[in-house]
């Protein structure tokens, strides 16, 4: 009975994480289109939300082994390690719960600051943190199994360094070419024509995000179901899990992470239509090509790199390096910070005696923390109506005071 309650808490919190992934990453798909006026803010998030939903349902392939990238709580076929389910799976569930909670809290902190950080890094960080304190450092998969680049180094650190460089280079070249070609053309031709290019590439990024990122939550929920003996098939995901994850990520996307959209669309570079087209095309191309050859680059870091590249590709374009510096700090800090929060939460649960009290205690802390962060965000809300307001002349403050309501 107690396992069932813990399982329900894990599922609810996993869906909450999926939801934060949605609004945290909306910016990746729509920030540049909104900044150049190619799409109105509300249309943009609706489009991205719908395509995320479609993308999530398209992912038939099982992402059951998602935790294997960083921790050793699953066998290669996706089943939980036998020693961890001896108690009915409760210990494993509490670790997953703490990991997810740490990831959510860190996602909310970076959202409050308007920083585009990787939701995947937050999830991995949370799982690593909870695993280290719950099972020991040796249960973390640092460098993979030796057959290829895996583990923390191969799936987190290398891609994080490479993504912005590759995407930035492609976007810089694209920006230069598009500017060069459309030079001297009347604005009515460029604005109208380039608009459709931007919308098309934004759609591609949204679709790819739905297929890649909703799967991770589906994998975590299915792992929890298997650990507690509610599901045995390691080849497929229950349909209700898929539907719930697809809805959660789509709703999150539709809500719009306006604070992050603002930073990426207005803060980092003052984006013009040619830059928007080049940046978004570069993002779509790099994400699709890299996942095609099995190189897992972070969507968030690819997009940021593209926007930066579009600012470097044409002389006279303006890049706010102070804003970029803050982003880089957020990238580096995300994994360890989410790990620390998750480890702290797991430790707190252990003080409560583990099992059901731990799960309930961690959930309460998560709710309280999320509520506090949300309350803080209301002091300077960013929403569809002020997301495009001019960036303040001082570089760093990402928010403008406003008495309007919004998220």
């Amino acid at each position: 009975m107690t396992v069932t309650i813990v399982l329900v808490l894990v599922i609810v919190i996993a869906l909450a994480f999926d939801f934060t992934t949605g609004f945290h990453d909306t910016a990746n798909a729509v920030a540049t289109s909104i900044a150049t006026g190619a799409l109105s803010p509300k249309t943009a998030v609706l489009l991205a939300g719908v395509l995320n939903l479609v993308g999530a349902f398209l992912s038939v392939q099982v992402a059951l082994t998602v935790t294997n990238a960083v921790v050793k709580i699953q066998a290669p076929d996706g089943a939980p390690v036998p020693g961890l389910v001896a108690d009915g799976g409760e210990a494993l569930l509490v670790i997953v719960l703490a990991g997810l909670s740490g990831a959510i809290l860190w996602n909310l902190v970076t959202w409050l600051l308007g920083l585009p950080s990787s939701s995947t890094h937050a999830l991995f960080g949370g799982l690593i943190g909870a695993t280290v304190v719950g099972l020991g450092v040796s249960e973390v998969n640092w460098a993979g199994d030796g057959t290829g680049l895996g583990g923390v180094v191969g799936t987190v650190i290398l891609p994080a360094v490479l993504s912005p460089v590759v995407a930035g280079l492609v976007a810089a070249v694209g920006t230069w070419l598009v500017f060069r070609i459309t030079l001297g053309l009347a604005a009515r031709y460029t604005a109208g024509g380039l608009r459709w290019g931007q919308i098309g590439s934004a759609c591609l990024v949204s679709l790819a995000h739905g297929t890649n990122d909703a799967q991770k939550t589906m994998g975590v929920i299915t792992l929890a179901l298997i650990a507690s003996g509610r599901w045995t098939d390691t080849e497929s995901v229950p349909f209700w899990v898929k539907a719930a994850c697809a809805l959660a990520i789509a709703l999150g996307t539709y809500l719009g992470g306006w604070r992050i959209i603002r930073t990426l669309g207005k803060g980092l570079v003052e984006i013009t239509p040619p830059q928007g087209l080049a940046a978004q095309s570069a993002s779509a191309a790099v994400i699709l090509v890299s996942s095609h050859v099995g190189l897992a680059l972070s969507t968030t870091q690819v997009t940021t790199g593209s926007v930066l590249g579009s600012g470097l590709g044409w002389p006279g374009a303006k890049v706010r390096w102070g804003v970029f510096g803050r982003m880089v700090v957020a990238w580096v800090v995300t994994l360890p910070a989410a790990a620390l929060v998750a480890a702290g939460l797991w430790g707190f649960g252990e003080l409560l005696g583990g099992g059901l009290p731990a799960a309930v205690g961690i959930s309460l802390v998560l709710v309280a923390g999320s509520g506090a962060l949300y309350a803080r965000s209301r002091r300077e809300p960013v929403h569809a109506d002020n997301v495009d307001a001019p960036w303040p002349s001082s570089e760093v403050p990402p928010l403008t005071a406003s008495d309007r309501v919004g998220v």
């Binding site: 030796g146 492609v170 098309g200 779509a284």
Partner: protein, 105 residues
Amino acid sequence: MVDALAAEALALGEVLLVALLLGAGLPALFALGVRALARGSATETSADGVTVRVPAARPVGRVVAAACFAVVVVVVLLGIAVIVAGGFGMALSFEDVYPTFVAEP
């Protein structure tokens, strides 16, 4: 580990090359289409912002523009096919020149 690094570097070079072709080449082609379309219209604006009347519309511009946009649309559709295929555990193979769905290696 060293082999893995080498393989990764190779994969990265491949990604960079293809991404440059698609990610920078396609928007450039798209921009060419926009430019051609502008030339296909009856008026043109010179760099200093003055609208100049040209004697007649240039149909060639429209044809070139249509060709540019067609290529872009086809490649974007292929991109969607890659995403969809990946979701179903398939991959898009270009071994027969025209794309076919194959089981993922």
